[in-house]
């Protein structure tokens, strides 16, 4: 009975890790910057921490599991930034060497995406150009193109759908 309970727990923890690793990674990369070499280490530390807390039964279901993991992630990020700013303030950043396989895959995908954007109709391309490349606000883009701000969002969303089909 105890073994079954442990197995169930192990499966759940594994599922949770699989599900939340990309989310934690995204959050960490956004906060620390993807070029920060330790971001993967920070993610691993967070997941280890989550597993430990789950095993200790610290998650009591008072909030969602997502919120529970979000809180652990946020705390670790704050700790990292504090520590970094105290200890490594004057130390140069070591260069980040991405995984070669991952690098090639990302590069190929970026090429595919860029070509797909070129194939979009001008009315979609111009919105992407002004909104993302030129960094204009949604209202500014709307004014420049004489359309409503809502229409700007619609065109961006539709562009995204078209790109998914093209790739």
């Amino acid at each position: 009975m105890a073994t079954m309970e442990r197995t169930k727990e192990a499966i759940n923890i594994e599922e949770i890790c699989t599900k939340y690793r990309p989310i934690i990674s995204f959050r960490v990369k956004k906060s620390l910057g993807a070029s920060t070499p330790e971001w993967e280490d920070v993610v691993n530390e967070i997941i280890t921490n989550v597993i430990e807390k789950l095993k200790k039964g610290e998650f009591r279901g008072e909030s969602s599991i997502g919120t529970f993991i979000y809180t652990i992630t946020s705390r670790r990020i704050i700790d990292y930034i504090r520590h970094k700013s105290k200890v490594l303030k004057h130390t140069p950043e070591p260069a980040h060497y991405p995984d070669p396989q991952e690098y090639i895959e990302n590069k190929e995908r970026a090429e595919l995406m860029a070509n797909a954007i070129k194939k979009l109709k001008p009315k979609y391309r111009e919105v992407l150009y002004l909104y993302y490349y030129k960094d204009f606000s949604r209202e500014e883009v709307a004014k420049k193109l004489s359309i409503s701000p809502r229409r700007v969002s619609e065109r961006v969303n539709y562009s995204q759908k078209l790109l998914k089909k093209l790739i």
Binding site: I117, P122, R125, L128, Y133, R138, S159
Partner: protein, 216 residues
């Protein structure tokens, strides 16, 4: 399919335009909402690629256009918003109407005093003909009528001295032949004064110069 209310914050989050409060809310939310998280990842990829490869993606159109610079028309039109342009146009129209429509009609007129029902004192007499240099002797000297029963005195001046004068109740007068002969070639001026039946001066025209070159 109904969209999540946090979806519209995704762009602002990725473009660092969210307030700290909303940023925290969205970050907390996407830990619980796989749909929003997936959309966020897709949008993040799109933005990263456009930011890093935009100069290549858009080089044939917008980037080149930008390098050429805005046209003078674009510069002018982007200077103000359409609403501001409309206001400026309306103001310009208003000024145009005031300057060319209202002000000319507001020019000060001499004070007018009513002598009786028909007569008004103070109105000026407008001389009609002759007013400039002419080659043909006018058949008559003419001015605008002021009212009924008004007597007009016409004066012709030569260097300020009265050369000839006459009286009429019409708004024109035919000059006698002997005066016509005198008036050829030199510059003279003429003036009309209006009098009420009681002999009160009610109006005076300005002195207008004329010259008749009958030999040419």
């Amino acid at each position: 399919m109904r969209n999540c209310k946090f979806e519209e914050l995704i762009d602002a989050y990725l473009l660092n335009r969210l307030t700290e409060n909303n940023k925290e809310k969205l970050e907390k939310h996407y830990f619980d909402c796989p749909d929003c998280f997936n959309k966020m990842v897709e949008r993040d990829e799109l933005i990263s690629i456009i930011k890093s490869k935009g100069d290549i993606i858009f080089k044939d159109e917008y980037v080149t256009e930008e390098a050429k610079g805005e046209t003078w028309l674009e510069k002018i039109t982007s200077f103000l918003t359409p609403k501001q342009w409309a206001m400026a146009a309306a103001s310009a129209c208003l000024i145009f109407v005031i300057v060319f429509g209202v002000i000319p009609n507001l020019k000060t007129t001499s004070p007018r005093f009513f002598i009786n029902e028909d007569m008004v004192r103070g109105g000026s007499i407008t001389l009609i003909s002759p007013v400039f240099e002419t080659h043909v002797f006018p058949s008559q000297f003419e001015w605008k009528k002021l009212g009924e029963n008004i007597e007009y005195k016409i004066y012709i001046y030569d260097n300020g001295d009265v050369l000839w004068q006459d009286t009429t109740k019409e708004n024109f007068i035919v000059l006698p032949e002997k005066i016509k002969k005198l008036l050829s070639g030199e510059k003279y001026s003429w003036q009309v004064k209006a009098f009420s039946p009681e002999g009160t001066l009610i109006s005076v025209s300005s002195k207008v110069q004329f010259k008749i070159n009958q030999n040419k």
